[in-house]
C-alpha cells in the first residue's frame, strides 16, 4: 500500500472514534483486515495496539472484478422508452387515454387527471451479435452493443429528483448516508498517492439536484467524500497558487511550513503534526497532479476526435475523457453527473423529441468512445461503467396542470427504467429484465436500486450485507435492509 494512504489512514484513525473501529471487528472488513485487532474487540480501553498498518489492510471480502468504477449519471432522468426499452405496442396506443389501472392509487410529479399515451419517438433496431434493441438516438452506442449489459426492469421508490438521486447513490432517500463512491474508497482504499480516491465531475451547467450529498461521505470520515473537480476555474478549490507566487516558491513555502512543523513535533510529540506534514506534501502534489490529469491538451488528436472534445471545454464529452484519464491514474471511483435530462415537454429543451435527441448527441459519442478507449488500453476488464438515472419516464405524455403540453414530454416514473453497465465483470451483450408491453411496469426480473447497489458492491468484492459501518448504535450499510445481488448480470 502507498505510504500516503497509510498516513491518511493514520490521520483518520486519530480522529475517528476508536470505538467504531473496535466495534467493526467481527463485521465485514474488520474480520478480514484487522487480524491483530480482534484481540482488543470490546475492550474500550485498549488502544496502543492499533497501528495504521492494520487499519490500512484494505482487503475486499472476495476477489473484485471491478477495481475501478466510472458511474455516469444522467441527472433529470432520460426516457428509457426513447432509447432502449422498445415497446411497439405503445405505438398503437399513441394518443389514446391512459388505461385506468395505470393511474389507480398512483402519484405523479405533474400528471393530472387522465393523460394520453405517448408512443416511442425513436426508431428502434437490433444491434450487435447480441441483438440489443437501441434507437437512432444513440448511433455510437449501437457500435459497442456487445460490450453492454442492459437492465430494463429497474425500479425505485422515489419520484422526485433529489430523493431519488439520494436513494440511488446513498441507499436512502433522506440525507446523511455515505455515497456509493465513499463506500468504495472506504472499502478498497486509494491507489494513487497524488489524487483523491473519489472524484466527481459535473456537466450540463448545474449540480445534481440533491447537491453534494450524492457524493458525500455521510457518517463515514470526510476523507472518503467525493472531491469535485470543476471544469471551470480551479479543478479543485484553491488548488491554484495565487498569481505572483510561482511553483518554486510554493514548493519552498511548503517546505518551510513542514520544516517548522517538524520542529514543533520534536517539541510536543503530537503525531497529528506528522499527519499534517504529509497532507501538505499531498496538497503540493495535488497542485501538480490535479491540473495535469485535468489537462487534455497532450492527448493525441485522434483521441480528442473520438470523444469529440476540444481542449478547454467543460462538456460532458470532456468529462468522459477525463474519467478515462482518472481511472488510468488509478482513481478508484469517478462519478460523472450531467444535468438536463428531465424531459417534461414544457420547452424546446426538455422534451423527448428534440431535447432528448440533443442531449444524446452530446453524450452518445463520448460514451461509446470511453468504452472503446478503455478497451483499447486493456482497462475495461477491471473498470465498471454504470450508466443511468434516478428513475425513468412514464409511457404517458405529461399533461401538466391538465393541459396539453407544447412539446412531447414524459413525467417522472419510478416503476420501470433502464440502466446499463459495461466492463468490470458484467456480461457482454446481455439484457436483463423485461417490462410490460407498454413499458409501464417491470414484469420479469425486476431490479430495485438497492439490488443494483448490492450488485455493484459485489463486483467490487464486497458482500453488501456484511459491508457495514456502525453509527448511532446501528450497523449501517449502503443497501439499508434491502438488496439482492443480481447474479444473472455477472460474467
Amino acid at each position: 500500500m502507498e505510504k500516503l494512504l497509510k498516513e491518511l489512514q493514520h490521520a483518520d484513525l486519530q480522529r475517528q472514534t476508536r470505538r467504531h473501529f473496535l466495534q467493526s471487528c467481527g463485521f465485514g472488513l474488520g474480520a478480514l483486515g484487522l487480524g491483530s485487532l480482534l484481540s482488543s474487540c470490546g475492550d474500550s480501553t485498549a488502544g496502543t495496539d492499533i497501528s495504521a498498518e492494520n487499519i490500512l489492510a484494505k482487503i475486499p471480502q472476495f476477489a473484485p472484478k471491478a477495481k475501478r468504477v466510472i458511474y455516469i449519471h444522467m441527472a433529470g432522468a432520460p426516457s428509457q422508452l426513447e432509447l432502449f426499452d422498445y415497446k411497439p405496442e405503445l405505438v398503437k396506443y399513441h394518443g389514446k387515454d391512459c388505461p385506468a389501472e395505470f393511474l389507480e392509487g398512483k402519484k405523479f410529479a405533474f400528471i393530472q387527471g387522465v393523460p394520453k399515451m405517448l408512443g416511442p419517438q425513436g426508431k428502434f433496431a437490433q444491434y450487435g451479435q447480441s441483438g440489443a434493441w437501441m434507437s437512432d438516438y444513440v448511433p455510437y452506442l449501437q457500435t459497442v452493443a456487445d460490450e453492454i449489459t442492459f437492465v430494463k426492469s429497474m425500479h425505485t421508490d422515489q419520484f422526485n429528483h433529489a430523493p431519488a438521486q439520494l436513494l440511488l447513490h446513498t441507499g436512502s432517500a433522506r440525507l446523511g448516508r455515505p455515497s456509493l463512491g465513499a463506500w468504495a474508497v472506504y472499502g478498497l482504499g486509494s491507489e494513487n498517492k497524488n489524487l483523491p480516491g473519489f472524484i466527481v465531475l459535473a456537466s450540463g451547467g448545474r449540480q445534481p439536484d440533491a447537491g453534494k450529498s450524492v457524493y458525500g461521505s455521510g457518517f463515514l470520515p470526510s476523507v472518503y467524500q467525493g472531491v469535485q473537480c470543476r471544469t471551470g476555474g480551479d479543478p479543485v478549490l484553491y488548488v491554484t497558487d495565487p498569481s505572483g507566487m510561482n511553483r518554486n516558491m510554493r514548493k519552498q513555502t511548503i517546505e518551510a511550513i513542514n520544516e517548522i512543523n517538524r520542529q514543533t513535533y520534536e517539541d510536543v510529540q503530537d503525531p497529528e503534526i506528522l499527519t499534517r506534514i504529509s497532507q501538505y506534501e499531498m496538497a503540493f502534489r495535488m497542485q501538480m497532479s490535479v491540473p495535469e490529469v485535468m489537462d487534455v491538451s497532450k492527448e493525441p488528436q485522434f483521441i480528442l476526435d473520438m470523444y469529440g472534445v476540444k481542449p478547454g471545454e467543460g462538456t460532458f464529452a470532456m468529462n468522459c475523457l477525463l474519467a478515462r484519464k482518472l481511472v488510468e491514474n488509478d482513481v478508484r471511483f469517478v462519478q460523472l453527473f450531467d444535468w438536463g435530462w428531465d424531459g417534461h415537454g414544457t420547452s424546446a429543451g426538455d422534451n423527448v423529441e428534440g431535447g432528448l435527441r440533443n442531449k444524446c448527441q452530446l453524450s452518445d459519442k463520448p460514451i461509446a468512445a470511453l468504452i472503446q478507449d478503455l478497451k483499447m488500453r486493456g482497462l475495461l476488464e477491471e473498470t465498471l461503467i454504470v450508466w443511468g438515472a434516478e428513475f425513468g419516464r412514464t409511457p404517458m405524455q405529461e399533461n401538466r396542470n391538465g393541459l396539453v403540453m407544447p412539446y412531447m414530454g414524459r413525467d417522472h416514473h419510478l416503476d420501470a427504467f433502464t440502466m446499463w453497465m459495461a466492463g468490470g465483470g458484467v456480461k457482454k451483450g446481455y439484457s436483463h429484465g423485461e417490462t410490460d408491453e407498454l413499458g409501464y411496469y417491470g414484469v420479469k426480473d425486476r431490479v430495485h436500486v438497492h439490488d443494483l447497489q448490492a450488485t455493484i458492491l459485489h463486483l467490487m468484492g464486497f458482500d453488501h450485507e456484511k459491508f457495514t459501518y456502525p453509527f448511532q448504535g446501528r450497523n449501517f450499510r449502503l443497501t439499508d435492509t434491502e438488496g439482492k445481488v443480481v447474479k444473472q448480470v455477472i460474467a
Binding site: G47, F108, H161, D209
Partner: protein
Amino acid sequence: MRNRVYIGIGVAVILMSSFTWSGGWFGQKVDYNSEVKPILNKHCMGCHGGVKKAGDVSFLFEHEMLEPGKSGKVPVVRGDADASEMIRRILSNDPDEKMPKNGTPLTEDEIGTLKNWINEGAAWEKHWSYKRIEKPEVPSLNNVWNLFGLLDTGDKKWAKNEIDHFVLKKLKEKELSVSPEADRATLIRRVSLDITGLPPTEQEVSDFKNDKSENAYEKVVDRLLKSQAYGERWTSMWMDLARYADTKGYESDGGRTMWRYRDYVVKSFNEDKPFDQFTIEQLAGDLLPKDQNGFPKEQNLIATGFHRNTMTNNEGGTDDEEFRTAAQIDRVNTTWEVWQGTTFACIQCHSHPYDPIPHEDYYKYMAYFNNSRDEDVWDEWPKLRFYKGEDSARVERVKDWIKKYNPAQEADVNQFMRVMEPKINAHNFVKGDESTVHLISYYAVKDKGNARIPQVDLTHADNVVMNVSTKAEKAVLKLHLDKLDGPVISEIKVPVRDTVVIAPISKAAGKHDIYLSLTSPKMPEEWVRITWAAFQKALPGKDQPDYAQIVADYATALTKSTESMPVIWEGKGDFARKTHVFVRGNWMVKGAEVKPDVPKLLAPMPKEFSKDRLGLAKWIVNRENPLTGRVIVNRFWEQLFGRGLVETVEDFGSQGSEPTHQELLDWLAVKFMEEDHWSVKKLLKTIVMSATYQQNSKSDKVRQEKDPYNIWISRGPRVRLSAEQVRDQALACSGLISDKMYGPSVMPPQPDKIWQSPYSGESWIVSEGPDRYRRGVYTYWKRTAPYPSMTTFDAPSREFCQSRRILTNTPLQALVTLNDPVYLEAAEKLAGTMKKRGKTPEQQLSEGYRMLTFQPIEAKSLNVLLKIYQEALTNYKKTPSDVDSILVYGKEKSPELAALTISANVMLNLDNVVTKE
C-alpha cells in the same frame, strides 16, 4: 523494624485497592452493566433485542428474559444457571441449538460471567446513564498513596479544584502523571480560543504575563466570560445542534429568514441565561406566559425557531403531509440527541435495539410536537411578522380600536396579525372540478371550478379571511354551506392581485363543509390561487364611523409582505392533531392512537407539569431527568478538551462509549444543576480553573504509549481549531476582523460556481465593508452548498442535528489556508504590520510569529523563515511584476512587503497556529 511493617501493610492495601478496582476479585458480585450487558449486546441482542425477538426470546426488558420463549423454556432462571435455557443453548454442541446461531461462540470467560451472574440471582440494573444523577464524593487526596509517601506529595499542591481530584484518581490507576502548567502565553491563547473563539490581543497577553497577582488567571477568565465574543463562540457550537441554516433545505433549498433565532442564541449565551430556561424557551417559548397583549413574548417566540430549523420541501408533487411528518420526526430525534444524548431514531420503526425503550414511546413523545401548525407549506407558515413604519402604525391602530370596543377580542386579533394563526392551509381543501392542488401548497381554481373545505367551525365566525391572487378580471368566488349548490354564505369579488380579502359570511352555527365555487366568465382560463383561509369573528365597533378604515387597516396589515421568521405555534381545538404509532416507521400505516408521554425508562412526568410541550421541556430540565445534566455538561467539556468524558457525546445509551470519569461527570452535572443553577458561565469557569485544564499539552513517549488519545488527561488539550476559529483567528491576528454583531447573515468572498440552486435565481452577492470580515458564525449557511472552507474544515451541512464534528486532517484544508484569498489578504495585512514594527527581516519575522502564537520564535524556526523570506525577496526583486500580482489588497507595493506576505502565508499555515495548544 516497625517501619518495615508499616510499609508492608501499605503495599498490601495498595495492591488490594488496585485489584478491587478492576472488578470481580475478592468475592465481588458480577456487575450487570459493566460485565453482563456488554456480552448480551455483543452476542445476543441482535436477534433477541428490540428489533427481533427470535423464538419469542428477548433480553431487552427485565421481564422478558424471565418469560418462557416459544419453546416453553425460560431463558434465565434466577439463581440457577443450569436450569436456564440461555446457558444450555450457549453450551450446546448441537449446531441447530447452539447460541449464538452462526455467530462467534462465547469465550470461557464470558460464559463464566453469565453463569455467575445467573447463579447470583441475575440482578437487573438500569444502564448507568438512566439512573438518577447523584453527587459523588470528591476523592480525597489524603489517601493511602500519599500517607505512605509513595507518590508525589505535589498532588495536593497541583490540584486547584475538585475536577483535579477526580482526574488524579484515574491517572493513578493508569499509572500516569500530570503535566506542568502551560506557560502563560499558551494558557491565555488556549482559554481565549476556548471561551471566545478568538485569540487574545497582544495587549491582553502582555497584561497577563506581567500580572503577578495570585488571581491573574481568574481575572482573565472572568474578562473572557464577560466579552461579547463569548456568545458568538458558543453559538457556533449550538448552531450545529440546532441545525441552523439560512435556507430551507431539500432540492430547491431556497432562502429562509432565520437569523433572529441565531441572534437570540448569541444573546442568551451572553446574558448567561440559565440553561434550563434556555431549553424551555426553545422547545416551548410559544406556551410560556403571555405579555400584556395576550401574545407570547417576542423573544420567546423567536426562541422556538430552534425547531423551525427543520427542512421544508418545496418541490413539485411532494406531499406536504409526508414532509410535515419528516419535520416532526426530526424534532423528536433532535430533541433526544441534543438534551438526552440518545439516538432515538431507531425507535421510530421498532423498540430500541439495545436499550429498553419500547416502540410506542417514540410516538407518545412525538405527540408533544405534533400539534405545531407548520405543515410544510411553501411560505413556511406560521411565521412571526415584524411590522415596520406605516404597517406598524396600522397594527397599532387596529389594536387600539379593539382595546376600545372589545378588549376580549384583542388576543385573537393581535395573534392573527403577528402569526396569522389559526388558518386553514389550502392543501387541506378537497379537490373539486377545474381545480388543482399541486406544486407548492396553494389551491388553484378557474371558471366553473370548485373545492370543499371540510368541517369548518362557524359558530363564532362573521368573516372569511382569505389569501387570494389572480390575473383573472371579474372573478367571483362563492362560499356555499354544506353542498356545492347549498346556500351562499359569502360572495367575494376577487381582486386582480395577491391580497388578503375579508368578506362577511352569513351566520351558521356548528361545523360545516364549505364549498367554494368560482365564476370567471371574462377570463375563464386564468387561475385564481388561494393560499389559505380563516373564519373569524368580525372586528368590533361596527357602528362606529371609522369602522371601514379599521377593517381596511387590518386587511392591509395582513396583505403586506413584512419581515418574518418561522416559529412554532401550537394548534388548538380543531387545529390539534391526533398522533398514531406508525407501523414499522411508515407514516402512511397508522397504528394505535397515542397520548403524549415520556419514556418510563427515565424519570416519570411530574403531575404538576402540563401535558404539552411546555411540560415536556420542564421534564427535560427537571433535576430528576438522569440524562440532561450529564449530556449538557459533557458537551461543554468536549468543546474544551476535544473529547467528551463520554466520547460519544451523541449517545449515552448502552451502545455509546463508557464514561472515562463517570464520577467527575456526575459531580459536574449536579453542581451545574443545583449549585450553579444551570449557569453555563459558571460551569465553564469551573472547568477552565482546574489544574487539569491548565496543563501544558506536550506529549512524550510514555504518554504516547500509555494514553495516545489523552483519554486520562495527563496533559492539556491539543486540538485543531474549528472551521470558524481557523477563519476568525486569521482575521483577528491580522487586524481585519469586524466586531459587528447580529443581523442577517453575510456573504464573504467565495469561489464562483459554488451556488447552483435549481429553480431559484438566488446568488451569492459578496458583502462589502465590515461584513466581509465578520466572524464565521455570521456567514450565510446554505444547506446544499455551505461556505466551502467551512465544510473543508469539517463543519456539517446542518441538514440534521450533528453533535460532533469528527476532525479530519486533509490536503484540501492545506489548500484553503494556503490559497484561499481570505488567508492571502490576512497574510498581506499581517505583513504590513510586521514591516512597520521591525527594522530588520529578523525582527519583522519574529514579530509576525509572535502576533500569531504569542511566543518568541526559536532560532531554528527563524532561520527557516529567514530563508524563505530571502528567497522570496530575491524573486520579487528579479520579477517586479510578481509584486503587483501578489499584493492586491493594500497600497504599498514593494518586494520587501511581498516577501513578508509570503512569510506570513507560511506562518498562517503552521501547525501551532491552526492548533489550540
